[in-house]
C-alpha cells in the first residue's frame, strides 16, 4: 500500500523528478478506491474520467516546465458539500440527489488552479449535521482503523478516504468540529482556519456565521500547502476577509518559545486521551515552550449557545429547499404548500429536520429573547473570554474529543449524546478562531487527537507548533493496516 510517499511535498518531488506521472499516481488512487472503498463507503461520487484527463493535463503542464503550480497533478478528494461544476453535489441528502451545480465553489476553483486533480466527492453527514457520518442518505461511513466504528463527522468521508490512503489530501468543512473531530478519530491533521480566511462561495451553507472550509491532511506541513492554495479574499463572498494571505509554508519553521495554555475542561476526557495530552505537553515543554493551566468557564458552555445559533441559522439556510427550482420534488402535489411540505419532509433526514425544528423554535416569537438573543450574548462573552486568555498565552491546548472513535449506533439513542462529541471544538467556531487537531496518541489501536486554538488569523502560529510537534513525534505517520 505504500509504494508512493504520503506527504504532499514528497509527492510533488516524485512528480517533479519524473519518478511517477500524475496519470500513474491518479490511476493508483482510483484503483485503491475501486478495491477498498466498499469497506468504508467514503466516496459518494468517483470522477474517474475527469480525474484521468486532469492528470494528463497536469503531466503536460509539468512537461512544458514553466509556472508549474504547487499542487500540480496531486489527487485530492472534495467533501460533497462543495459545488463542482458538472459533477453531482448531494450534501449526502436525498434533497440534492442528482443535483448538478453549474459552477465550482471558490475552494474547488482555487485547488484546480493550483493543479490538484479531483478524484471525487466524499460522503458526509447530511448537510454537515452530525459527528459520526451515520446521518447520510448514502449510507454510513466506516473508520478504516476499525470498520465497526465511526470515522467521525460531518467530514467522515474525507477523513476515512485519507486515512485509508484513497487520496493524498481532502477538503472538509467545520462548523462545530466537523473537520477536527473526524481527524482526531482517524489519526489525521485538520486545520479549521479563522472565519473568513477561506471563501464560502459555492460551499453549501449550514450555519453561515460558523461554517468554514478546512483541510484534512497527513501533516501540518501538508495543511500549510493546501491552506496556501485555498485562502484569500473573494468578492463573491462578502464574509471572506480582504486580508493578505500569510506564507504558511514559511511559517512552518521552528517557532519561538510559546506560552501554551492547557484548558482544564478540555482534559475532561477518557484516561487515554488525558494521558496522551500530558505526554505531548512534556514533549512540547522539552522543546522550549511554557505550559500553564487555565479555566475558561464561559467557553465550557459554548455547546449550548452553539445549538441555538447553528440550528437557527440552519433553519434559515435550509428554507430554500422547497422542491420548486431544484432538488427533490414530491409526486402529485395537491397544492403549493403540499409540494413544499412533502418535498422537504420526504427528502430531508431526521437529524436535519430535528435541527430545523430547534432553530424554528428558538427564533419563534415568545422564545426569541430567551434563546436566540441569549445565545448571541453568550457568544460575545465566549469571544471575550478567549481574547482575555490570549493576553497571557499564545495557543490553547486540550483533547479534541472526549474519547476514541465509538461504534456505529452507539450514540444514536440520544441526539444530545452525539452533540457532546463536539464539546471542545465548538467554541473556536463561535469565536471564529483558527484551530487544529493533530494526532497525539493511540488507545486500543484507535487514534487520539490534540486540539490547538490560536487567536484570529494566527494560522501560522498553529502550523508552526503543530509542525514542530510532528518533527519530534510520529503519531501522525501511523496508518491503519489495509489488506
Amino acid at each position: 500500500m505504500s509504494e508512493i510517499p504520503s506527504s504532499l511535498s514528497a509527492l510533488s518531488r516524485y512528480l517533479a523528478t519524473s519518478k511517477i506521472s500524475s496519470v500513474e499516481l491518479t490511476e493508483t488512487f482510483l484503483s485503491r478506491i475501486r478495491e477498498y472503498d466498499s469497506r468504508y463507503n467514503s466516496f459518494i461520487t468517483v470522477t474517474e474520467e475527469s480525474a484521468r484527463s486532469a492528470a494528463k493535463e497536469a503531466d503536460s503542464i509539468r512537461a512544458r516546465g514553466n509556472n508549474v503550480p504547487a499542487l500540480c497533478g496531486i489527487p485530492i478528494a472534495h467533501k460533497d458539500l462543495f459545488c463542482t461544476r458538472g459533477v453531482n453535489t448531494t450534501c449526502a441528502s436525498r434533497m440534492l440527489e442528482g443535483y448538478v451545480p453549474p459552477f465550482d465553489a471558490t475552494v474547488v476553483e482555487r485547488l484546480k488552479t493550483h493543479g490538484a486533480v479531483m478524484l471525487g466527492k466524499t460522503n458526509m453527514d447530511e448537510f454537515a449535521m452530525g459527528s459520526s457520518n451515520e446521518h447520510s442518505a448514502f449510507g454510513a461511513v466506516r473508520n478504516p482503523w476499525d470498520t465497526d466504528r465511526v470515522p467521525g463527522g460531518s467530514s467522515g468521508g474525507s477523513a476515512a478516504a485519507l486515512a485509508a490512503g484513497l487520496c493524498a489530501a481532502a477538503t472538509a468543512t467545520d462548523t462545530g468540529g466537523s473537520a477536527r473531530q473526524p481527524a482526531a478519530l482517524c489519526g489525521l491533521t485538520a486545520l479549521k482556519p479563522s472565519y473568513g480566511r477561506i471563501s464560502r462561495y459555492g460551499m453549501i451553507a449550514f450555519a453561515s456565521s460558523l461554517d468554514q472550509a478546512s483541510t484534512l491532511t497527513r501533516s501540518a506541513e501538508d495543511a500549510a500547502w493546501l491552506l496556501s492554495a485555498m485562502a484569500g479574499s473573494d468578492e463573491r463572498d462578502s464574509t471572506c476577509v480582504d486580508v493578505p494571505v500569510d506564507d504558511y509554508r514559511a511559517a512552518l519553521n521552528n517557532p519561538s518559545a510559546m506560552r501554551l495554555g492547557v484548558v482544564n475542561d478540555w482534559l475532561d476526557a477518557d484516561q487515554a486521551s488525558a494521558t496522551a495530552i500530558e505526554d505531548a505537553l512534556l514533549v512540547l515543554e522539552k522543546a522550549g515552550h511554557k505550559i500553564t493551566r487555565i479555566d475558561l468557564p464561559r467557553v465550557a458552555l459554548g455547546i449550548s449557545a452553539y445549538y441555538v445559533l447553528a440550528c437557527a441559522e440552519c433553519a434559515s439556510n435550509l428554507a430554500r429547499y422547497d422542491g420548486v427550482r431544484y432538488g427533490y420534488r414530491c409526486q402529485d402535489a395537491r397544492s403549493i404548500e403540499d409540494l413544499m411540505v412533502r418535498s422537504r419532509s420526504e427528502s430531508l433526514g431526521a437529524e436535519v429536520q430535528r435541527r430545523i425544528l430547534i432553530g424554528t423554535f428558538v427564533l419563534s416569537s415568545g422564545y426569541y429573547d430567551a434563546y436566540y438573543r441569549k445565545a448571541q450574548q453568550l457568544r460575545r462573552l465566549i469571544c471575550e473570554e478567549f481574547k482575555k486568555a490570549f493576553e497571557d498565552v499564545d495557543i490553547l491546548i486540550g483533547a479534541t474529543t472526549t474519547g476514541v472513535a465509538f461504534r456505529l449506533g452507539e450514540k444514536s439513542a440520544s441526539p444530545t449524546e452525539m452533540y457532546r462529541e463536539d464539546l471542545y471544538t465548538i467554541p473556536a467556531n463561535l469565536a471564529g478562531l483558527p484551530a487544529m487537531s493533530v494526532p497525539v496518541g493511540m488507545s486500543s489501536g484507535l487514534p487520539l487527537g490534540m486540539h490547538l486554538v490560536a487567536p484570529y488569523l494566527e494560522e501560522g502560529r498553529l502550523l508552526a507548533l503543530a509542525n514542530q510537534f510532528q518533527q519530534v513525534s510520529d503519531w501522525h505517520t501511523r496508518t491503519p493496516a489495509i489488506s
Binding site: G98, V100, P102, F103, Y195, G196, S209, T239, V241, R298, L301, I303, S304, A305, Y307, V308, A315, A319, D322, V324, R325, Y326, G327, R329, A333, R334, S335, I336, E337, D338, L339, V341, R342, R344, S345, E346, Q353, R354, I356, L357, I358, T360, F361, S364, A370, R373, K374, A375, Q376, Q377, L378, R379, L381, C383, S414, P415, T416, Y419, A431, G432
Partner: protein, 104 residues
C-alpha cells in the same frame, strides 16, 4: 420550559415539515423526546448572567463590502435551470398558488 404537541405542530407548520411515516404518534413522541433533550442542553446557557451584554451575530466586525455599480453578466440561465423539476418557458411550474376558495 418544554415543547409539547401543540408547540411541535406549530413549529412544523412554520418549518414546512410534516410527519411522513404512517405511525405519526410514535414519530411525534420520539420527536418531542429528542427536542426536549436538546432544549435541556440549550437551557444550560441560563447559568450565565448576560444582563447588558451586546448580542453578537457574527464573529467578525466587518462592514458589507460594496462593488462598483456597473452592469455585469450574471450566470447562464439555461445552465442554472437545467436541473429544474418542472419548467415551462423559463418559469418553474408549481400547483396553482392562488385558489378561488382558499382553505388557509
Amino acid at each position: 420550559m418544554s415543547i409539547d404537541v401543540t408547540v411541535l405542530e406549530k413549529l412544523m407548520r412554520l418549518a414546512y415539515l410534516a410527519p411522513v411515516a404512517d405511525d405519526t404518534s410514535q414519530a411525534q413522541k420520539r420527536a418531542l423526546k429528542n427536542l426536549n433533550e436538546a432544549l435541556s442542553l440549550i437551557q444550560q446557557m441560563n447559568a450565565v448572567d448576560t444582563k447588558g451584554v451586546e448580542p453578537m451575530a457574527h464573529p467578525l466586525d466587518i462592514v458589507q463590502p460594496l462593488r462598483e455599480d456597473k452592469v455585469q453578466t450574471s450566470v447562464d440561465r439555461e445552465a442554472l435551470q437545467k436541473g429544474a423539476p418542472e419548467l415551462r418557458d423559463g418559469f418553474y411550474t408549481v400547483p396553482r398558488v392562488v385558489e378561488e376558495d382558499s382553505e388557509r
